[in-house]
C-alpha cells in the first residue's frame, strides 16, 4: 500500500473501532484514496472467506462432560483435606449435625424442587445425549413442511414447526425422544455454534408462562400453550434462549390448532 496514512487507522476503521467523528474523517480520506479502497476490498474478501470456511473449533461434547465432572468432584476434596485430625473430626461432626437438621426440616419445602430438579436433569440428559455424534437429528431437514409431515407419522399430537433462520435460529431437523417416560418430539435449531433442543409433548394441564432454570451449565425454559408443553434447552447465553422462547411462543399462538 503506497498511501502514507497510518495503517492502524485503516484497520481500526475496518473493525469498527473508530469513533463516529474519526470514522467520518477516514471516509473523507477514503473517497480520495484508491490504495485504501483496494486494501479494504482485499481485507473484506479475506474476512468473507474466513467466515465461510467454518474455521471455528467447537468443543466436543465429551470435553464438556469431563469438565462438569471435574468441577463437581473438585471442591469437596480441597475443602476436606485441611480438616484432618481431631479438630477435623469435630468439624465433621458439626457438619453431620447440620446436615441432619436440614434433612429433617427441609424436605417439606423440597418436594416441588425435587420434581423440578428431576425434570431438569432428564431434559439436560436428553440434550446431552443428542449432542453425541450422529444422534442429533433423525429427520434431517430444514424444511418445516417436511418435518411436520414426518412428526405427524411418528407422534400422536400436532404442533407448529417453524424455521427462524432469519432471526438467527436455523432449523436443523427433528427426532423423537423419551423424557420422563413420555414420548416427546424434539426440534433442533442452531445459532452460531450453539445447539438448541426444543422438546414438545402433549399435556392436560392449562397454559402457563415460561419458567427458566439452569442445570450443569445448561439453560432451560419451560412453558405450556394450547395443551402442549415446550421445553427449550441449550448452553447458549440465557438471553439467546429467551429470544428463542419468545419466537416459539409467538408462532404457537398464531397457528394454534
Amino acid at each position: 500500500m503506497s498511501c502514507d496514512l497510518d495503517n492502524a487507522l485503516l484497520h481500526s476503521y475496518f473493525d469498527g473501532e473508530l469513533s463516529v467523528i474519526r470514522a467520518a474523517e477516514f471516509q473523507y480520506h477514503l473517497a480520495r484514496c484508491s490504495d485504501c479502497i483496494d486494501e479494504l476490498d482485499t481485507m473484506s474478501s479475506v474476512r468473507g472467506s474466513l467466515k465461510h470456511a467454518r474455521l471455528y473449533e467447537s468443543a466436543p461434547a465429551s470435553l464438556r462432560l469431563k469438565i462438569r465432572v471435574g468441577i463437581h468432584s473438585r471442591t469437596p476434596k480441597t475443602r476436606l483435606s485441611p480438616l484432618l485430625g481431631w479438630r477435623g473430626l469435630a468439624a465433621a461432626a458439626a457438619i453431620v449435625l447440620v446436615a441432619l437438621i436440614l434433612w429433617r426440616v427441609v424436605p417439606v419445602v423440597r418436594k416441588e424442587e425435587d420434581y423440578q430438579a428431576e425434570f431438569a436433569a432428564e431434559i439436560v440428559d436428553a440434550h446431552l445425549r443428542s449432542l453425541l455424534p450422529g444422534q442429533i437429528t433423525t429427520a434431517n431437514s430444514a424444511d418445516p413442511a417436511i418435518l411436520k409431515a414426518w412428526f405427524d407419522s411418528k407422534v400422536k399430537f400436532t404442533f407448529p414447526v417453524r424455521d427462524f433462520a432469519s432471526n438467527g435460529f436455523a432449523l436443523q431437523g427433528g427426532r423423537v425422544d423419551i423424557v420422563q417416560g413420555r414420548t416427546v418430539a424434539a426440534l433442533v435449531y442452531r445459532s452460531r455454534d450453539q445447539v438448541f433442543n426444543v422438546f414438545i409433548w402433549r399435556t392436560s394441564e392449562s397454559d402457563d408462562s415460561a419458567h427458566a432454570g439452569t442445570r450443569q451449565g445448561f439453560q432451560w425454559i419451560d412453558w405450556r400453550k394450547d395443551r402442549l408443553e415446550f421445553c427449550a434447552v441449550s448452553d447458549a447465553a440465557p438471553f439467546d434462549l429467551r429470544r428463542m422462547q419468545r419466537l416459539l411462543a409467538m408462532t404457537s399462538s398464531i397457528t394454534a390448532e
Binding site: 473501532e17 481485507m43 474466513l50 471455528y56 473449533e57 468443543a59 471442591t75
Partner: protein
Amino acid sequence: MLEAEDRARFEQLVLPHLDAAFNLAAWILSNRSDAEDVTQEAMLRAYRFFGGFYGGDVRAWLLQIVRNTSYTWLEKNRRMHMTDEFNEELHMQSSATPESIAIAGDDRERLKQALETLPARFREVLVLRELEGCSYKEIAEITSTPMGTVMSSLSRARRQLQSAVAKHAGGETTHEL
C-alpha cells in the same frame, strides 16, 4: 473456598464460553487433542480462581487463562522449538507449506493451512478478532498487550494471511513484507 452457589454461578457464567476457550486453544496449539487437555486444565484453573473474579468481561477473563495455559503447555511440551523468534513459525508442528496450501483444493483446508503458517501471536489475534469477534480492548486484555500492539499485530497478521493465500492464487513466491 467455593460454595455450591459459586459453582452454579460458574456453570452459568463461565461454561457457556467453553467453545470460545476450546477454539482459542485449538488455534494456538494447532491440534485438537492437545487443545482438549489444555482447555480442561484451563477450565479447572478458572474454577479455582473464580472466587477472585468480581464481574466484568467473563469471556475475556476466561480466554486470558486459556491463553496462558496454552503457552505454558507449549513451553513445557515443545520447548526445543521455542528457542528464538524465528523458530516461532516452526513450533506449531504444522504440516502447512506454501506447496501444501496450493495443493489443498478445499477453501477451508486452504485457509486453515494458511493460518497455521503464521506465528502463534499473529494467529491468535486473527482468531480472536475474526472468529471470536472480540473488540481490540478485549484482545488487549486477553493477550495482556497494549492496544497499539494489538493493532499492529492485527495489521501484520492480515498482511501475512493475505500473502499466504495469494501465494496459492497467483503462485507467487515473495515472502511477507
